[in-house]
Symmetry: C2
Subunit: 298 residues, 2 copies
């Protein structure tokens, strides 16, 4: 598991450096006083990525807090271990969407006769400007990544992403979604792990073509301002709602590693609403409404 996750971190960083062309990751290794640690890698001020974070962590504790086991009361108080990789990409060009991926593995009671384990993960896309071509290719990659593991999984995981990445106080989706799953063990360990690997390894293949299509798009100050305002929504989601962020901060996680997800530069303008008929308005009206992007698509 650890080998897979660290290898994933390596391969994602290599692909991002290649796509960026000039930025390089630097690494912070850290240890957690209560057990475990991680290595956080950040590429800042690249040519394509204004900020890219790819973080591996493996942390553990002697007793699972009640808040972390609400859905599985039988594991409350047991020893636990969690390992995962998180990827957060904030591109410079407003026409390149931000992207997020995460895979995680959890074990509780590894020192008991009946340990519990599960996987979680997924990836989602957050455009400032919408393109149907990108949304369709993104969701087709998502569907193809999980298809070998069950015909119904894409529909379930896609709906879960739409549900999860939704800003309740705005009544607005964060982006165009993708895949989201948690508490996943239903295929048994080997097949569930294979699903996790399949999702993780398909991420860059889904994202790179979109970056390549959009990264040279000309833009000006208005597009940049719109992008920075959309990043404000990203911050709102992560600090108000994201379970991983809130659990990490509340449980004494490493703040800088948890908050590597926050965008490098962000605007809030009171009452900013796009003019009707503009691409900025179309983002909200069309792209940020959950929809079946693969309807009628092969």
């Amino acid at each position: 598991m650890r080998d897979f996750l660290q290898g994933l971190q390596d391969s994602v960083c290599a692909a991002l450096e290649s796509e960026d062309g000039s930025g390089r990751f630097s690494e912070d290794s850290w240890e957690r006083p209560e057990g475990g640690g991680g290595r956080t890698r950040i590429l800042a001020q690249g040519a394509v990525f204004e900020k890219a974070g790819v973080a591996f962590s493996h942390v553990m504790g002697p007793a699972l807090p009640p808040a972390a086991s609400a859905r599985r009361p039988e594991i409350a108080g047991k020893s636990w271990s969690a390992a995962g990789v998180s990827v957060v990409l904030h591109p410079r060009n407003p026409y390149v969407p931000a992207a997020h991926a995460n895979v995680r593995f959890f074990v509780a009671g590894a020192d008991t006769p009946a340990p519990s384990w599960w996987f979680g993960g997924g990836w989602d896309l957050t455009p400032s400007y919408g393109f149907e071509e990108d949304a369709v290719s993104w969701h087709r990659s998502a569907r193809d990544a999980v298809a070998p593991f069950g015909a119904s999984l894409y529909g379930r995981f896609k709906a879960a992403a739409d549900d999860y990445f939704f800003l309740r106080h705005r009544g607005e989706a964060r982006g165009i979604g993708g895949l989201f799953f948690d508490d996943f063990d239903e295929l048994g360990f080997e097949r569930s792990f294979a699903l996790l690997r399949g999702v993780a390894e398909a991420f860059m293949g889904a994202y790179r073509p979109i970056v390549a299509r959009r990264k040279a798009t000309p833009h000006g100050e208005a597009e940049r301002a719109h992008q920075l305002r959309r990043r404000g929504r990203y911050v709102e989601f992560n600090l108000l709602q994201d379970r991983g962020t809130l659990f990490g901060l509340q449980s004494g996680g490493r703040t800088e590693s948890i908050l590597m997800s926050l965008p490098p530069l962000v605007r809030w303008d009171y009452g900013a609403v796009p003019q009707p008929g503009t691409p900025e308005a179309r983002l909200l009206e069309f792209f940020l409404k959950p929809r079946d992007w693969l309807e009628g698509s092969p």
Copy 2:
């Protein structure tokens, strides 16, 4: 009460326009479907204030939710009404501190034989660069504002501000504090209301001299970047911890009015730590540690 609060909004806006010299407030009046409404005033891109928000609201409901009455179980489920003014000031010059003030009045069960009422409020200062002269004058104004109502109030309200405006996940104060009180009724209605007025009316007198001293300080890109990173802490506090923000968003308040508190432009840079011996480091090491600013001061 309503007259006082709306008059306060008028006078604070007038003083801010005068201090700014060029920016003008624009007003959004709004109504809340469940009852009440407000008028939110924003000055954007002024000469001194990059963003200033001064919001009046008066909202009400038929049944207080349990979360809002945890400290007063006897009022759960009663009708309620809340009125207040919030002021959030984000100056352009990094040497001018951000400032926040709030006064609020709450009534529960006004239609019952024994209504409950209380006041809350205060003001606090969030510098990006610390000046002892400013900290002392700010706290002296705070002490003087509440002195007529009891010798112990400044110490209590100052300690409450230090406790409240503290970022737990950073182990760091948001700013240098000031006054904070809530659930306040101990002087009876007339004297408690007089205290609220005294605090509200002292705010601009405490803040304007500091703005005047700092607003023409020359600065460059490094100071600006530091300011934008400090604003990131402000966002973290408001979205992760601020009770008013979280209660407002969770209870279906008007999102744009609640989030007017967020700064206009913000940076997050992974692992950014000031160089030892710099004014940026001194902010953290000296000014953002709760201390008695009036020790030995007349």
